[in-house]
């Protein structure tokens, strides 16, 4: 970008996406109606584990408007295979077959057992209620530790075990270092099961062109390209070339729309059979059971250190609840964090092991951060525990162990190479912003006078691994696809610019940021750049949007495409101006002859010449157009320092985030306004994980937190405003120097908040507390009654009562 005059990049350009969204003109999937369109509704199991012994559709079939009622058995001929798992993390992984509509046995409550199609939404829903399904209940297993034991009821009989896989990574003489280390810290943490709650539910609309065997599929998805390949090749057996997938306006994803879902396949099947457009729109209560959940991981975290607290080794052992099936990337989610359990600290040895376990619950999969919040939580809580053990405060113990600032890629204990970083720099800025010394004084005074409202200060100096990903690395991790992305730029003869990108935004503002990049590189106005996305016919090359990859892979592909445009334009300009290409200077869209600045050609002029093609140089093709496919050589590693300040009412157990400071380093910034917005939203979701949200089941496997009325998605009233700043350490992975910011807040916030809560409670001898830190849990920790430990899980009998770290709960005083 050095030669580019930056007019838009780095500036707070307002979003191009907004005008439709703020006037109600945007078209989300449920806003679309096609001629002849009919509605699908799904019949779902109320049981978590049961054999279907009868499927009586007679009553439903006789209801007004009903066109078809199909059981899983009825639809079986539509599938060439089950829903795909694209990340079989080990060679011997156990993968159950996952039919879009189950034929005989249901494995979690909410699983599809049939579909109904009717003329209207209401008729379809009414008829679905009237389908009479007989079930023979089977034993359920809900607790992942119970499920992992021999003799536990099996989720899938045919697998012979509930253990799906064990994945291991080990560097160095781990056992020796741990046995010789003067200090070893052992902690146990549990990440609650979370429900993603994109505000737009999922939905699918399929338009069949029966005569051609073609289908246009609109889906509220993050991954139109991946969906096309996988639906075609693994589920439907329809040629990929006959499927067109369009992600229209999509109302949030957070990983929950990064999947290949039963309803996507079933809606195609229904449209194929009826020869009519079919629409399915998820109800929120369905979403809670049939859209993936996130987290639900138990971590045993061990740190080995010297007496003064210098880290020697990290050993993390995980049990991860897969739920009942492996969705698209379910088993890989813990592996996305596998390389980050040493955080931003140097260590000699490293060991990570994760066992994935089946239970009779909704499958887990990617939820904002996906594996990296888990890793960050473990190391950031454990480093505080290490500090307590060796008598150093949270700042001191981090400074002692930080990897020093570096600007060239550098190997770390887990075997990766971080791209660049200045962890001390971001922490220093965060402490300054939050007013750390004053806060400590305030805290001391409150403790002194025994204030009912105690203050806690928590740090999180996080690192994440983004820009998924180098394809070769993905291959070595047994991920089934590549990690590249693509962009095409076409400069039209009128000088307007069309961009098609392989990323598929759903709130991230790619149209705006991509326009900034192109406008600066080609010297055109921001308004003259049109960005198209999310349609496999319009942008056929792409790998979609997840894992904070869009800018650092798709945006970088776009940057390279602009450079190809400039180089082609240079050849044409040189030919027109009758000079050698190297005799031209290029700046902000204009080529000038060196030493003769009045002889010039602009990109729009060259685009017109390339279109008329009247006088092109030999071997130059008409049209000013370029495509670039970028496969990153490494991940990117955004980092930062977050500080949460909480007030804990020791009489009620209520926790309030009084102040939240986030200093993030996502490398070069294209649009600061959008970056800050991503941090705000991510931090809010992270605070929600720490304080509010948790899915819980009863002993039969019925989801108790079954709607927004009883699952605590926070409102504005629960959250504070955030104080943000940035440092910029350009990534060495790509030419833009960008790293990604989409998940940073969600990754950083939970340990910052929980470290703060534990800090506030330390006068009570409390060194450990589980998420979410609800008033009840906090109150119990203070006033006795147990059940507060970090590894303690949902109170529901089936979901893990009795698992605690009693010895860790009260270690007797603040050290």
């Amino acid at each position: 970008m050095a030669q580019v005059k930056e007019r838009y990049v780095g500036g707070g350009v307002l979003r191009k996406e907004d005008p439709e969204l703020i006037t109600g003109q945007a078209r989300y999937i449920d806003d679309m109606t096609l001629p002849g369109m009919v509605w699908m509704a799904v019949v779902r199991s109320p049981f978590a584990h049961a054999r279907i012994t009868g499927f009586d559709a007679d009553a439903a079939k006789g209801m007004p408007g009903v066109l078809a009622v199909w059981s899983g058995e009825d639809l079986a001929s539509e599938w060439i295979g089950g829903l795909p798992c694209a990340w079989p993390v080990t060679e011997d992984i156990k993968i159950p077959t996952h039919w879009p509509v189950t034929k005989d046995v249901v494995h979690h409550a909410g699983e599809a057992v049939g579909v109904v199609v009717a003329e209207t939404r209401e008729q379809a829903l009414d008829a679905a209620e009237a389908v009479n399904v007989d079930y023979e209940p089977l034993p359920v297993v809900l607790d992942m530790e119970e499920a992992a034991k021999d003799g536990a009821p099996l989720v899938h009989d045919e697998l012979g075990t509930n253990r799906s896989y064990t994945w291991t990574l080990s560097n160095g003489e781990v056992d020796r270092v741990f046995s010789e280390a003067p200090v070893v810290v052992k902690e146990r943490y549990y990440h609650p099961r979370l429900i993603p709650n994109a505000i737009e539910p999922r939905g699918v609309l399929v338009q069949p062109v029966a005569s051609q065997g073609e289908y246009t599929i609109w889906s509220a998805t993050q991954i139109p390209h991946v969906l096309r390949v996988t639906l075609a090749a693994f589920v439907l057996g329809i040629p990929e070339s006959k499927l067109r997938i369009i992600a229209p306006e999509v109302g949030g994803g957070f990983g929950s729309k990064l999947n290949v879902y039963a309803e996507e396949a079933a809606t195609v099947a229904a449209a194929k059979r009826l020869g009519r457009p079919v629409k399915w729109i998820e109800e929120r209560s369905e979403a809670y059971m049939a859209t993936i959940h996130g987290r639900d991981v138990i971590q045993d975290m061990e740190l080995a250190a010297t007496e003064e607290g210098k880290l020697l080794g990290v050993r993390a052992t995980l049990l991860a609840d897969m739920g009942a099936y492996l969705q698209l990337v379910t088993p890989g989610i813990p592996i996305l964090g596998a390389f980050l359990y040493m955080g931003v600290y140097d260590a000699e040895v490293y060991h990570f092991e994760c066992t994935g376990v089946f239970t009779n619950k909704t499958p887990t999969d990617a939820y904002r951060g996906a594996g990296r919040p888990e890793a960050t939580y473990a190391i950031e809580r454990a480093i505080d525990a290490l500090g307590r053990k060796v008598g150093k405060d949270a700042v001191e113990i981090r400074r002692l162990n930080f990897i020093p600032a570096f600007s060239e890629a550098r190997p770390v204990a887990s075997g990766l190479s971080f791209d660049s970083g200045d962890y001390e720099g971001t922490l220093a800025r965060a402490l300054e912003l939050v007013g750390y010394e004053d806060l400590r004084k305030d805290q001391a005074e409150r403790r002194e006078r025994g204030d009912a409202v105690q203050l806690g200060i928590g740090l999180s100096t996080y690192i994440e691994m983004c820009g998924l990903a180098p394809s070769q690395v993905l291959g070595s991790l047994r991920y089934a696809a590549g990690g590249w992305d693509a962009a095409t730029i076409r400069v039209l003869p009128t000088g307007k610019v069309m961009v098609s990108t392989g990323t598929s935004p759903h709130g991230q503002g790619h149209v705006t940021s991509w326009s900034q990049i192109v406008a600066d590189a080609l010297g055109v106005s921001f308004e003259d750049v049109e960005v198209q996305h999310g349609d496999t016919a319009v942008s056929p090359l792409g790998m979609d949007t997840y894992g904070s990859r869009s800018l650092s892979v798709g945006g970088v592909a776009l940057h390279h495409a602009t450079q190809k445009i400039v180089e082609k334009a240079r050849t044409i300009a040189a030919h027109t101006l009758e000079v050698a290409p190297e005799d031209l200077d290029y700046e902000a869209g204009t080529f000038t002859v060196k030493g003769a600045p009045d002889k010039a050609k602009t990109i729009p002029e060259i685009a017109f010449a390339a279109w008329t093609a009247h006088a092109l140089p030999p071997d130059v093709e008409p049209m000013l157009e370029a495509t670039h496919v970028f496969d990153p050589p490494n991940f990117t590693f955004p980092s930062g320092a977050h500080v949460a300040v909480v007030e804990v009412d020791t009489e009620t157990g209520d926790v309030r985030v009084a102040k939240y400071v986030a200093v993030d380093d996502c490398g070069t910034v294209i649009n600061p306004m959008i970056v800050e917005g991503q941090v705000h939203g991510g931090v809010a979701q992270g605070i929600a994980e720490a304080l509010y949200e948790e899915a819980s089941y009863d002993e039969n496997g019925t989801l108790l937190t079954s709607s927004m009325a009883n699952y605590a998605v926070p409102s504005a009233a629960e959250l504070p405003s955030f104080l943000l700043d940035r440092t910029e350490t350009p990534s060495t992975t790509n030419e833009l120097g960008v790293k990604g910011i989409g998940e940073a807040g969600t990754i950083a916030a939970p340990p910052a908040v929980m470290n703060a809560v534990v800090d506030a409670l330390s006068p009570f001898g409390i060194t450990d507390l589980g998420m979410p830190a609800t008033p009840e849990r906090v109150w119990r920790a203070i006033h006795g009654g147990g059940g507060a430990g970090a590894a303690e899980r949902a109170e529901a009998p089936g979901a893990g009562s009795g698992v605690g770290s009693a010895e860790a709960e009260r270690e007797g005083g603040d050290r």
Partner: protein
């Protein structure tokens, strides 16, 4: 079927609706006003918020027949003569939206909040005033900024609904 007559965004609309038809589906499916979104089935998220006689209501929680003879303003009716309402403008300028799905409801709830306030709202009042509307993208930070910014320009200015 029941005959209803509702003034929607200033225009009188008559229709035969099933007694069980919710206001939001009357707006979306009978009138084609799809700017009002549905995000949940428990009156929790507020995506479907519209103004009924100037008061913010969750249109998934009212029957269409309850709007008979009354005035409804949806997001499509908020701008006047092509001029964005100050609240819409503020959401744009303060980056008060990302995916946009909660935005129509959030904007209408905010309009109602400001119009019914006795005086200028502070941050805390805005946060509590919008607690019936959920957003999963913005963390509310910029929504609050948007509402605070809009209330100044709204005071004194004639606003619809």
């Amino acid at each position: 079927m029941t005959r209803i007559a509702v003034t929607v965004n200033g225009a009188r609309r008559e229709a035969d609706v099933e007694p069980r038809t919710l206001l939001v589906y009357f707006l979306r499916e009978h009138l084609g006003l799809t700017g009002t979104n549905v995000g949940c089935d428990t009156s929790s998220c507020g995506s479907c918020t519209v103004l009924l006689d100037g008061e913010s209501v969750k249109s998934c929680t009212l029957l269409a027949v309850q709007s008979d003879g009354r005035e409804v303003t949806t997001i499509e009716g908020l701008a006047t003569n092509g001029e964005l309402h100050p609240m819409q403008q503020a959401f744009h300028e303060e980056h008060g939206l990302q995916c946009g799905y909660c935005t129509p409801g959030m904007i209408l709830a905010a309009v109602s909040l400001v119009e019914h306030a006795d005086g200028p709202l502070d941050e805390d009042a805005v946060r509590h005033g919008l607690e019936g509307n959920l957003c999963r993208c913005t963390g509310y930070h910029n929504i609050v900024k948007s509402v605070l910014a809009a209330q100044d320009s709204m005071r004194g200015a004639a606003t619809p609904a």
